[in-house]
Symmetry: C2
Subunit: 210 residues, 2 copies
């Protein structure tokens, strides 16, 4: 085992440091954020920071770096109030990663990378047709993180589109069956293999596989 | 494909709703948070919300529900200022899950579930010996999320302990090689299989495997 301390971080080459530190949180969600504006059209960008915030109300958040690539996404969310999360599948993870290139604001990443916009009834923001688990979000609040000038974008789940055969009797959605990938670091993509689901933990007995 | 709208969420049975909504963000990191206090001893709790916030300064965050289980962890972090993240491996994912049981404050979850506390030099908080990737954190700030009374706990990375053969030449840490697991929903654990790493995306050429 190797140990590296904070005092040595400053000596790391910048890109090396970014790769290393980005790897440390563990495996991450891989979502495409779909937005639209009347002025600049469609936008699609991959994010790896989407997290569950609560089930009632049903909230999810993700981190934005306002000075960097996804600023078109940020502008569209703030302006229109709506966006979508679309889980990434092995069949289009390269196209999903390609959305992180710095396309001009007038370019639709859907078109640039070859993914298909799809609409659900009157929901404003575009979904990714190729995705299997898709969530329609309404923007609620941006929480500034002053320590490093990032923003936690919080939204409420307005609708969920999912493969019905992936939903288990207790409400659990089997993302592995749905083909959802996970990512790590800045650029590594992975499929998953289930170890097991575990019972609700109680102090007086060991957990068991369910 | 099935669609469910927000208006139908209220009709879902509470536990069903919790399982379903918790599944939607995608795959999550699985970390054990190690803390200590002079009054109540050691504490260990599993969290699935650890996220990367930035590489310079090196920051990570996670979500706490103050009214629920991990409040001993919260108290220890606020009181002592230090905590550890320890990646979960297949060899102890059941013990890791068991830490979510509501043990009394005086009980060490290390002891209750059978994991081994380990110390690094003079770092205050305990690590999990059985883990392969371990991060020593210093508490910096708690950001309240008023929408649902949760807290984003932000800390700075003080040191990282990792298997040296898992670090690649560009700084990327191969978590799959390190055995780190990912989780989904409230209780599902998974190993991973790499699709590939992808090159930095540029607008004028497609990404390639690296």
């Amino acid at each position: 085992m190797k140990k590296i301390k904070k005092t040595a971080f400053a000596d790391l080459e910048a890109r090396f440091r970014t790769h290393f530190i980005n790897s440390l949180s563990g495996f991450k969600s891989a979502n495409l954020v779909g937005t639209k504006s009347e002025e600049t059209g469609l936008n699609l960008s991959i994010v790896s920071s989407v997290i569950h915030l609560g089930a009632n109300p049903a909230l999810m958040g993700f981190i934005m770096r306002p000075a960097r690539v996804p600023r078109h996404t940020y502008k569209n969310i703030i302006k229109t109030g709506y966006y979508t999360f679309n889980h990434v599948l092995p069949s289009f993870f390269k196209e999903a990663h390609q959305t992180s290139a710095r396309y001009p604001e007038s370019v639709s990443e859907f078109e640039a990378v070859g993914l298909t916009p799809e609409y659900s009834d009157d929901f404003y923001a575009p979904y990714v047709q190729e995705s299997q688990v898709k969530i329609g979000m309404k923007f609620l609040e941006e929480v500034p993180i002053q320590l490093n000038d990032t923003i936690l974008i919080i939204g409420e789940i307005m609708e969920v589109i999912y493969p019905e055969d992936c939903k288990q009797a207790d409400g659990f959605l089997d993302l592995e069956k749905a083909g959802t990938v996970t990512c790590s670091g800045l650029d590594s993509y992975h499929t998953t293999t289930k170890l097991s689901r575990l019972s609700y933990a109680k102090t007086d007995k060991p957990v068991k596989e369910i």
